[in-house]
């Protein structure tokens, strides 16, 4: 039996004209399983293609055709369950959900109703304000996707594309544990990160690989659940946030005007930023669920689960904790780095065996700046981990200064090449030769008696001399050497 896990928190309350309201959100996320073939047929799951290119006899529900479970999809569901720290059910049952629609060739969707493959689990969210919340997962089950109807292509008829018909989906159902649009967005983001780490769903929401049914209700703090609405098939994280905020305001308005909320199914209109009721025809049916007699119960032993568990990659939460302890990253930096597995891997390649602090600064600083400017993820900014690593090595061994390194990075970005070669070719090596620098320092002291005089009362103006040396050497002078020389020559103590 579900028990509410959240305490009412002031920051989550929404102020209405008659007092505070608490928002309660639960999500059903449909995630397309990454697999070569559909859930019950051998057809390709490739995105795109000409309409009805990827349709087998089974997908088209020809007479006498039978579904055969695709084991790869089962393994993906188990992996996902493990990634959500969930209970894996060694025995689950496929049911038929019966309804008529032209893009549902069988006249039923094969889904899991009473006995899903994955039971309770959780997802941990680290929110921007530094707090952590745990969102409960109620279940995950496997089901078939439907095809696509198009009502615009023909004047008199609708047309159907069955390419998606039968593609495996995981429906991941959360408990009503979220209390704001921000949390819901963080949940979907985190879930997507986990799925991508696991390689069980590509998470490409614009291609329809992930979409959410959003359940929202409001209540007075401490009171029982309000009546919820379900906004179907929202297909971007931004829209999920918008749909929730719209629903919160709408529901509060209705209730404060003395009205009541209808338990109904809504659609989100991204153009208007509004939800509206679905046409009645698409509304709730009596689905007449019953176990699919074409399929035996899905059974597997613990050995399979353990084998898959052993093969799991490091998961986002584990990676984050390790980055914090191993590289001394702040929670914020760690969270950003682990959001995409490729970025995290990139960072590790740069940081491994090097000064972690320096690596973090360069990855999160300059490189991240360039990546953002280009609108690409870190690892696609145009600098290989090797190149950035070499650059950091050049700083660490005193070959170049941090300032020169920034210039070298620019060159790498524009022209490519090894940082060491660039430094060599462009003569950017740091000048640490005391004799050579001494001559330059002497020249500057001799040419600027006024400043030398001023320095006696204002020791901090030594910086001006450093600047002069840097200018003369085009930034190549080792700042520490210059400082030391100036202090000795001008007979002042260390600043």
């Amino acid at each position: 039996m579900y028990k509410e896990s959240r305490e009412t928190e002031k920051k989550n309350l929404v102020q209405g004209s008659t007092g505070d309201w608490e928002v309660v959100i639960g999500l059903e996320v449909h995630a397309q399983v990454t697999s070569n073939a559909k859930l019950f047929s051998g057809s390709s799951t490739e995105f795109g293609g000409e309409p009805n290119d990827h349709v087998s006899l089974v997908d088209a529900a020809m007479p006498g055709m039978l579904p055969v479970i695709n084991e790869a999809c089962v393994h993906q569901a188990i992996r996902t369950g493990l990634g959500l720290r969930a209970k894996i059910n060694n025995r689950s049952v496929f049911d038929r959900k019966n309804y008529f629609y032209p893009d549902l060739p069988q006249g039923y969707q094969i889904s899991q109703f009473k006995h899903p493959i994955v039971g309770e689990g959780d997802v941990i969210l680290d929110l921007k304000d530094g707090t952590t919340v745990t969102i409960g997962i109620e279940r995950l089950h496997l089901e078939q996707d439907a095809g696509k109807s198009n009502h615009e292509m023909h004047l008199k008829h609708s047309v159907v594309d069955l390419n998606r018909s039968g593609v495996a989906l995981m429906e991941i159902v959360s408990y009503p544990d979220m209390r704001s649009a921000e949390e819901a967005k963080a949940y979907v983001t985190k879930l997507r990160t986990i799925l991508r780490y696991l390689g069980t769903c590509d998470g490409n929401m614009d291609e329809g690989s992930m979409r959410a049914d959003v359940n929202v209700s409001v209540r007075r703090p401490g009171e029982p659940w309000g009546t919820r609405t379900e906004t179907k098939n929202v297909n971007s994280i931004r829209f999920i946030g918008q749909a929730i905020d719209y629903e919160i305001n709408r529901q509060i308005d209705v209730l404060e005007d003395g009205g009541s909320i209808d338990q109904e199914t809504l659609l989100f209109d991204p153009k208007k930023g509004e939800t509206r009721p679905m046409r009645s025809k698409e509304e709730a049916h009596d689905y007449r669920y019953f176990p699919d007699p074409d399929l035996l119960p899905l059974e597997f032993d613990d050995a399979l689960v353990e084998k898959l568990r052993k093969e799991l990659p490091e998961l986002p939460d584990d990676k984050k904790n390790r980055f914090m302890s191993e590289y001394g990253l702040s929670p914020y930096d760690a969270e950003i780095l682990i959001a995409a597995r490729a970025s995290a891997d990139y960072f590790e390649l740069v940081a491994r065996g090097r000064d972690a602090k320096l690596a973090v600064n360069w990855v999160m600083g300059d490189l991240s700046g360039h990546a953002n400017a280009k609108g690409v993820p870190l690892h696609e900014a145009g600098v290989s981990p090797d190149q950035l690593g070499q650059l950091i090595d050049l700083i660490s061994d005193g070959t170049i200064s941090g300032k020169i390194a920034k210039d070298v990075l620019e060159i790498v970005l524009e022209e490519g090449g090894k940082p060491a070669d660039i430094v060599e070719a462009k003569g950017l090596k740091q000048m640490s030769d005391t004799g050579e620098l001494e001559a330059i320092v002497d020249d500057i002291i001799a040419a600027n008696p006024k400043q030398v005089e001023q320095l006696k009362t204002k020791p901090k103006t030594i910086g001006w001399f450093v600047g002069q040396v840097m200018q003369k050497t085009k930034g190549k002078a080792n700042p520490q050497t210059v400082n030391k020389l100036l202090q000795d020559k001008l007979e002042i103590g260390e600043g």
Partner: protein, 493 residues
């Protein structure tokens, strides 16, 4: 050449091997017989004579080259529930209008790979729903048998009426059939043929139009037990495309066919002695008991206490599955489409015109019993009954090897005679056969005598799961004791 049609598969095979006649000659003899009979008996929905002759010619080549399969050149009829590549498949329904599969069912592929020659597609009750072959969109199929006393047509039983009728009338040497509640065994009993329903999972359902998936099982209808053994061996296979098919080796059923029943234990379930059962059925049953006893079997009375719930439970489970299985016939992708103002209207028009009354009745029953609020009271309860029925059999098989019962509560009747006012009257035909489907067990009907009216009667044997070999052995003993029935008069010629 008409005597060629009187051969059994076993004897025809020998004749072909020896070169007494060719596969083409054998084929043409059956084509001739079919041609002469089909107007009167209406056993075929479509004939494929040209294709048959072509395949028979190929069989002759293979026989010559020594590559003959186990059914090489044997003319068979295929129930029109099996999808056959490039040959129209109707399931006896208007809704599959002009449907021609681009695929071959696993069973017909197995048969054709073994050299069998298809003469055509056989009539059946619409979607295999019926016990008299009166629900076919393509008209009633007629039994070659008539009562001694009158000239009235009789039904061949159903749903595999076309299969039973054409085998009995010597139009084909054997036929494929399917059995969901008795659709192989009951028509076999009505036509004096051997009808075998194997264990659920023994034959692949892939490519067979589904009626009730958890009950449907295909099997042969033949004129002898030996022929049933030959055909079943070819039809049965594990099929990765049907996850309910079972990965067990298929034994050579001919091998121990004549080992007899000495020492075997035959159970007589007392619950099959139903109220109002005609004396002649009772007497036939007693004869069967005596035959097996005299061959050395031990007769043991057993109880299957939940038998009386089998038929009502069947009429919940089967329609429930059918209501869902038949949802795909919606006019969108294949078969009949009756246009409408919108999609809903198109569905309604298509299904109203495409399905016959009995199919509609079962879709409605099935939809009702699966509805929210009724599911537990009907479907779930029926499934529990099913478990109890299975348990009854498990208990019985601790004591006996096989069960002997009548196949039907009476002989063949005339079209229109039953079920006109009350469909249950028709459903009662399945009272002895439906239990084997509910429990997934193999069953066989063996012609065992004639009724007082002079029409065939059958005895049923129900076996242990996947013990088709044992079942066939007892059936052979029964057949030997009863003797083969006379050939029905060819009144249609």
């Amino acid at each position: 050449m008409s005597e060629l049609t009187d051969l059994t598969i076993a004897t025809a095979r020998k004749g072909l091997a020896k070169g007494d006649f060719s596969a083409v000659e054998l084929c043409e003899a059956h084509i001739e017989a079919t041609d002469a009979a089909n107007d009167a008996l209406n056993t075929f929905i479509v004939t494929t004579f040209e294709l048959a002759v072509k395949r028979a010619a190929q069989s002759d080549k293979r026989i010559k080259s020594g590559d003959a399969g186990v059914l090489e050149g044997i003319p068979l009829g295929i129930k029109d529930l099996f999808c056959t590549k490039d040959v129209q498949t109707t399931a006896g329904s208007h809704i599959l209008d002009k449907f021609t599969p681009v695929y071959e069912s696993t069973i017909t592929k197995n048969l054709f790979d073994d050299g069998a020659v298809m003469i055509g597609k056989l009539n059946l009750d619409e979607f295999a729903m019926g016990s008299s072959n009166e629900t076919s969109y393509f008209g009633n199929c007629i039994n070659p048998w008539k009562r001694k006393a009158d000239d009235a047509h009789l039904v061949p039983g159903g749903s595999s009426g076309g299969s039973a009728s054409s085998v009995a009338a010597r139009l084909v040497m054997g036929a494929t059939a399917t059995d969901t509640g008795g659709s192989i065994r009951q028509p076999a009993a009505f036509t004096g043929t051997v009808g075998m329903k194997p264990t659920y999972g023994r034959c692949s359902r892939w490519g067979v139009v589904a009626f009730a998936s958890s009950l449907d099982q295909a099997g042969p209808i033949t004129r002898t037990v030996e022929d049933a053994a030959i055909m079943l061996k070819s039809m049965a296979s594990y099929d990765a495309k049907d996850t309910t098919s079972v990965d067990l080796p298929v034994p050579d059923y001919e091998k121990k066919l004549r080992d007899g029943v000495k020492g075997m234990k035959v159970g007589i379930p007392k619950e099959y002695r139903v109220e109002g059962m005609p004396d002649e059925i009772e007497q036939l049953w007693q004869k069967g008991i005596d035959w097996l006893k005299s061959e050395g079997a031990e007769i043991i009375d057993v109880s299957l206490p939940h038998t009386k719930y089998a038929l009502p439970a069947y009429y919940i489970v089967a329609p429930a599955e059918a209501s869902s299985n038949l949802a795909r016939y919606d006019g969108v992708r294949y078969g009949l489409r009756a246009e409408g103002d919108d999609i809903l209207n198109m569905y309604e028009n298509t299904r109203a015109q495409g399905f016959g009354a009995e199919v509609k009745r079962r879709i409605m029953i099935g939809t009702y019993v699966l509805s929210a609020g009724y599911y537990d009271a009907y479907y779930l309860k029926a499934q529990k009954v099913r478990t109890l029925i299975k348990r009854d059999f498990d208990e019985a098989y601790k004591k006996v090897d096989v069960l002997l019962t009548p196949t039907t509560p009476g002989p063949a009747f005339a079209p229109g005679e039953k079920g006109g006012d009350d469909p249950v009257e028709m459903y009662l035909n399945d009272i002895f056969t439906v239990t084997a489907n509910m429990a997934g067990l193999p069953g066989i009907s063996v012609p065992s005598g004639l009724s007082l009216e002079g029409t065939p009667l059958g005895l049923q044997l129900i076996g242990k799961p996947f013990d088709e070999a044992g079942l066939l052995r007892v059936a052979q003993t029964l057949e030997d004791a009863a003797g083969l029935l006379p050939t029905p008069d060819k009144w249609w010629v």
